[in-house]
C-alpha cells in the first residue's frame, strides 16, 4: 500500500492549480497603502478630536477614546496594535484565539469620577479586544473587534489581566505568571509580554473583577468562564 496521502495530494494539486491565477498586488502596493493610511490617519484623528470638542462625539464611532495610535509606531506600553485602517476586522473572530466580549460586567466606572457635566454622554461599554499574542508579545486594547479607534470613556476603568499557567505532573495547572492592567482613557491599550518556561499550560486574557486563580484542576478548560476574552488552550507538552 502506498504511503502517499490522497488528502495531501489533493490539496497540493489544488495549490498547483490555483497558483497561475494568483495575482499578488505586490510590495509596492502594500507600501502605497501604508503611506496613504499614515497620511489619512492624523487627519481622521484631528476630525474626531474636533467633533469631540464640538460635542458631537456621541455620533462618532470610537468616541470617547483617542484615535488608534499609528500602528507603525515602535512598541511601547501604551501603543495600539494594528488598528484596521480600512475598518475591516482586526485579527480575531470566533475561530481565532481573539474573541471580543461584550463587557456588561467588565467596564467599571471609577468612583468619584463621574462624567463631566455638560459633556456629551459617553456610553461605557467596557469592551476589550486582544489584538495580538505571540510568545513574547501581548497587546490588549479597549475597543471592539471592528473599531479602528479605542473606545473608553473619561473616568472609565476596565480591569483586565492576562494569566499563563504551566502543567503539573498530575494534569492540573499552576499559575506561572500574570499581569493586571487598568485600561483608562489615558491608557486605552497595553503592550506586554511573557516568555513561558516549563510545561506550558493554558493562557487567558480576562476582563472584570475576577481574581487570578492560582491553580486550575485537571480537565478544567474554562477556568474563567465568560469573563475570558481570549483563551488559548494547550495540551500538556510534558504529559
Amino acid at each position: 500500500m502506498s504511503d502517499r496521502d490522497p488528502l495531501r495530494d489533493a490539496l497540493a494539486g489544488t495549490a498547483d492549480a490555483v497558483r497561475p491565477y494568483l495575482n499578488p498586488p505586490g510590495v509596492e502596493a502594500a507600501r502605497r497603502t501604508l503611506r496613504r493610511r499614515r497620511q489619512v490617519r492624523p487627519v481622521l484623528a484631528a476630525v474626531v478630536s474636533l467633533l469631540a470638542a464640538l460635542g458631537l462625539s456621541t455620533f462618532v464611532p470610537g468616541r470617547g477614546g483617542p484615535p488608534a495610535v499609528d500602528p507603525t509606531a515602535p512598541p511601547n506600553p501604551t501603543t495600539s496594535p494594528p488598528a484596521s485602517p480600512s475598518a475591516s476586522a482586526a485579527p480575531s473572530g470566533t475561530p481565532s484565539p481573539s474573541v471580543t466580549a461584550s463587557a456588561v460586567n467588565g467596564g467599571a466606572q471609577v468612583p468619584g469620577s463621574p462624567q463631566p457635566k455638560g459633556s456629551p454622554r459617553c456610553v461605557k461599554r467596557g469592551e476589550v479586544w486582544v489584538d495580538w499574542v505571540s510568545s513574547y508579545d501581548i497587546v490588549i486594547s479597549a475597543r471592539q473587534e471592528w473599531e479602528p479607534f479605542h473606545h473608553i470613556c473619561p473616568g472609565e476603568t476596565i480591569r483586565v489581566f492576562w494569566v499563563w499557567y504551566v502543567y503539573e505532573p498530575d494534569g492540573s495547572q499552576k499559575l506561572y505568571d500574570s499581569q493586571v492592567f487598568q485600561l483608562t482613557y489615558a491608557k486605552p491599550s497595553v503592550d506586554t509580554g511573557v516568555a513561558v518556561e516549563g510545561c506550558r499550560g493554558d493562557f487567558y486574557v480576562v476582563k472584570g473583577g475576577r481574581a487570578v486563580r492560582q491553580t486550575i484542576p485537571a480537565g478544567d478548560r474554562k477556568a474563567y468562564g465568560g469573563d475570558a476574552v481570549y483563551t488559548t488552550l494547550f495540551d500538556n507538552p510534558c504529559g
Partner: protein, 165 residues
C-alpha cells in the same frame, strides 16, 4: 535598505502559500488575496518589530483572523451586494481541479481551517491548535472527523485512509 529588501523577500516567499490556503478556505480568490495583502500591509507597518519573531506566523494568523472575522464577512457581503459583484468576476481554476475545495466547504469552519493548516501548510498539530485557540486533542479529533467526512465525499478516497492524522 535592508528592511525593505527583507520585507520584499518575505512577501515573495509567503504570499502565494498563504493566499492558496485562504482560497481553499474561502473559495474566493479575490477575498483570499485581499486578506493576505491586508495582513502584509499590517506586517509592513510592524516590520521592525516582527521581522525577527516569526513574521510568517504573524501574517498567517492575521490573515486567517481577517478571513474568519464575522465583521469582515458581513462587510464583504455588503460590498458584493452593493456593487453587484459576483464571485465569478475573478478567474480561477476549473472546478474539477479543485474538487477538494468543494468537499472541504462541507466541513465546519474550524475543522476546515485545521485541515488546511495541517495538511496543506504542513503545520504541526500543536501550532494549528495555537492558531485556532483550542487544545491539541481537539484539533486531532477535528482532523479525524474531517477525514471521515472527506472520505465520504471524494471518490477514490478510501474510508480506511480517514485514520491518517
Amino acid at each position: 535598505m535592508t528592511g525593505h529588501r527583507d520585507f520584499a523577500e518575505f512577501y515573495g516567499a509567503v504570499f502565494h502559500r498563504l493566499a492558496t490556503s485562504l482560497y481553499v478556505h474561502t473559495r474566493d480568490l479575490a477575498e483570499a488575496q485581499d486578506v493576505v495583502q491586508e495582513a502584509m500591509v499590517r506586517a509592513l507597518a510592524h516590520w521592525p518589530r516582527i521581522r525577527d519573531d516569526q513574521p510568517e506566523a504573524w501574517v498567517r494568523r492575521t490573515a486567517w483572523n481577517l478571513a474568519t472575522s464575522r465583521w469582515r464577512r458581513l462587510r464583504r457581503g455588503f460590498e458584493l451586494v452593493t456593487r453587484g459583484r459576483i464571485e465569478e468576476t475573478t478567474a480561477g481554476p476549473e472546478p474539477d481541479r479543485v474538487a477538494i475545495v468543494a468537499a472541504l466547504a462541507l466541513l465546519p469552519e474550524r475543522q476546515r481551517q485545521a485541515v488546511i493548516l495541517h495538511y496543506l501548510e504542513d503545520l504541526p498539530v500543536s501550532q494549528v491548535a495555537e492558531i485556532i485557540g483550542v487544545a491539541e486533542g481537539t484539533v486531532k479529533s477535528w482532523l479525524h472527523r474531517a477525514r471521515t467526512t472527506l472520505a465520504e465525499q471524494l471518490s477514490g478516497y478510501r474510508a480506511e485512509e480517514a485514520d491518517r492524522v
